[in-house]
Amino acid sequence: MKIELRGVWREFNGQQRPVTALEDIGLEVEEGEFLCLVGPSGCGKSTLPDLVAGLQEPSRGESIVNSGAHGAPVLIFQEAGLFPWLTVRDNVEFGLRVRRIPRARRREIAMEQLGLVRLQQFAEALPHQLSGGMKQRAAIARALALDPPVLLMDEPFAALDAQTRDIMHQELQRIWTETGKTILFVTHNVREAVCLADRVLLMTARPGRIKDEIFVDLPRPRSVSNPELAEVAQVALDHLRDEIQKAEREEFDSGWLYPEGRLPASGPGVVASPR
């Protein structure tokens, strides 16, 4: 199973003028690879996995997903997107039901996947009874239940608190090692990317292009607090700094960050330093 994007563009009809979200993207994801895509706000990070999942079509170019008999990639979102009217287990069974898998088999698969994300005892709970991290784990189980060759993850941990996120990083690395899935993981957090990925692609501010590629060759399991990891993240961050500033200039009104009467001397082009 391999993902390949060739000369992919994606344009939207914006309110005033057309918006180019992705510009001439070419990338390949190898089977079993953990690839992270990092970029500043609004650079088309969410658009890319949508294209791969087939939820959107490229305006130009092609997105080739060589799935064969293995089924399509499954997307996981920033908010878990669990169906509130279904129990956790019925959520996990959702895709299997759509595929008309018999009930007994569905149940078996669902419990197995809930075991993998350590949520078995919450199988009968409703989504609103779960914490943010538990919801996200349920969403991962729901995706894994289909045994997709590729998991596409769009900032899946961005809404979680720092501790929960740390745990999720460990869990995801474990799941990846245990299942051997190909993972395309999107984030705006450089440390998270470096912590998880074999390879990190850095994107430019909008229109999103691929700017650099960083290979991360650190032993696993990794943690964001690992000092060697901080070094690699620093390198990546240096590469991205201009792009983050560019994105901020686009998204904030100029001068917005400054109190009245204290605009920076060098004029409207200057913006506060990156986070």
Partner: protein, 221 residues
């Protein structure tokens, strides 16, 4: 103003000589048919409007206009079409309830969070399957609100219709009360109409709404 006592007397008498039970059954029978038809028309119409821009721009705008029209305005037309018959009143009930159901269904469907639709799609649900398994359940709370609204519109339309023309029913008893200047009978009948409305809302719609809210997590535990 009649004394509470005479109103109570009218109630006892009405239930004693079976005129209220018969009238209630006649009115409820019309409600069931009219409201049932309104649901059968209103829900598919709402789905169609939510689904197609073409239908929204044509029928959809008409529905918005029709919704503001008091349904009793249809009675003269109904009498011309159907003559002095049950059908005429039921037509008025249908016209009174359908469009509020349609509007609620359409709004409910259009407000389904895109995230849930995307989740359904990425898990392999498309077309009809996506509608049945994701869109409809997600819109169910809004649809239920529409059904409740539709019920009260149907009830009002029915009473208006029966008041103007009918052989049986609670509205008819109101007319008799007016014709004989029997104020106690009029008030007693209003009470019956009110209580019936309350019972349905209390024992049908409220429990259903509560059950949905609990299931959908829309309500604090």
């Amino acid at each position: 103003m009649p004394s509470p006592r005479s109103v109570g007397h009218a109630l006892v008498e009405g239930f004693g000589d079976r005129s209220y039970p018969v009238a209630i059954l006649a009115s409820l029978a019309r409600m069931l048919i009219g409201y049932g038809l309104a649901i059968a028309i209103g829900i598919p119409l709402g789905l169609a409007i939510a689904r197609s821009i073409l239908i929204r721009d044509t029928i959809g705008s008409a529905v918005v206009g029709l919704q503001t029209l008091p349904s009793i305005c249809w009675l003269p037309l109904a009498l011309l079409w159907f003559g002095l018959s049950e059908k005429a009143i039921i037509f008025v009930v249908v016209m009174g309830a359908t469009f509020s159901i349609t509007t609620a269904v359409e709004g409910g469907i259009r407000n389904v969070p895109p995230l849930l639709l995307k989740a359904g799609q990425t898990l392999g649900a498309q077309g009809l399957l996506l509608s049945l398994r994701v869109t409809l359940p997600a819109a169910l709370p809004a649809i239920l609100t529409g059904l409740k609204l539709g019920w009260s519109f149907a009830w009002r339309s029915l009473m208006a219709g029966e008041l103007l023309y009918s052989e049986r029913g609670l509205g008819r008893i109101l007319t008799i009360g007016r014709d004989y200047g029997d104020m106690a009978l009029v008030l007693a009948t209003i009470l019956v109409i009110l209580v019936l409305g309350l019972i349905v809302s209390r024992y049908v719609f409220e429990p259903a709404e509560r059950a949905l809210a609990r299931r959908w997590g829309l309500e604090a535990e």
